[in-house]
């Protein structure tokens, strides 16, 4: 079992920089750096945010499940955010409201 690799120290920060750059690049290319396109969803005018987001979720999720099934990734070592139902409902509602007010 080799993955997740879990680099430490400076290597983890090198990974952070590279992965962050890719994250920012694809967000921008998908139009998610543009407030009007992001907020457009809530006026049913622009669906880029959900299209980009759910494509990414499906790709990453299927990739994890697939690699896990072949024993290439130890899914037990993958961090899954804990569930706090009411804080996540309340926080999500508040964040959604702020998102439309501010645009991001």
């Amino acid at each position: 079992m080799s993955a997740p690799i879990l680099p430490e120290g400076a290597w983890s920060l090198v990974a952070a920089l590279i992965l962050g750059i890719l994250f920012g690049f694809f967000l921008e290319r998908g139009g998610l750096g543009n407030a009007r396109k992001l907020v457009g969803l809530f006026y049913l005018k622009d669906f880029s945010m959900v299209q980009v987001m759910f494509t990414a979720i499906v790709v990453a999720s299927a990739g994890l499940v697939g690699l896990g099934a072949f024993g290439l990734v130890d899914l037990g070592q993958i961090a899954v955010p804990a569930t706090y139902l009411w804080p996540q409902i309340l926080g999500g509602l508040v964040l959604g409201a702020g998102f439309v007010i501010g645009g991001y």
């Binding site: 690049f25 290319r29 990453a60 964040l95």
Partner: protein, 172 residues
């Protein structure tokens, strides 16, 4: 494709989503956790508090959890700095680089910026209540099939649609 006049066309959202999904998958394979954004601001708040009021920070268990790392040696901070660089490269190489305040022309620049600050404060508060944002929970958590992340994502959409009517002048 929805392209506003004067804007260079973006990629197909499915192609950008594929790239983003592979990036997220790589993050899980390398780091064992997903991508984030709002955590960098929590790190900034914790590091600043520790600098300005160290005694208060040491007694606050919420902040001490963030003080094991220095600001610039924090994974999430370096990742978010990378996002700024990557977004810049994406806009630059597509010929989209320009100074602009996005929003309806009917709302003045000043008012739009005040609303952006207000919205940012609300978003920051909501992200701490939920312990995550659209990156860490809605995107990364959903891909890891975390129940709370899907609940958060639905609540996020509900909050957005519920508020849209009140601020439609800002965007239309």
């Amino acid at each position: 494709m929805n392209v506003q006049s004067g804007d260079r066309p973006y990629w197909s959202p499915y192609l950008a989503g594929l790239g983003l999904g592979l990036t997220l998958l790589a993050t899980y394979i390398v780091m064992g956790h997903g991508l984030g954004a709002s955590g960098a601001f929590t790190q900034a708040a914790a590091s600043l508090t520790a600098r300005v009021a160290p005694e208060y920070a040491e007694k606050n268990s919420y902040l001490t959890a963030w003080l094991e790392d220095g600001f610039f040696t924090s994974w999430i901070v370096v990742e978010v700095l990378g996002v700024l660089v990557g977004g810049f490269i994406g806009g630059w190489t597509a010929g989209r680089l320009r100074f602009a305040v996005e929003g309806s022309a009917r709302v003045g620049r000043g008012k739009r910026l005040v609303l952006a600050l207000l919205g940012g404060i609300v978003v920051g508060f909501g992200a701490r209540v939920a312990q995550g944002c659209t990156s860490g929970l809605a995107l990364s958590g959903s891909a890891a099939l975390a129940l709370g992340a899907w609940v958060f994502t639905l609540a996020f959409f509900a909050g957005g649609f519920g508020t849209a009517w009140f601020v439609k002048r800002v965007w239309q």
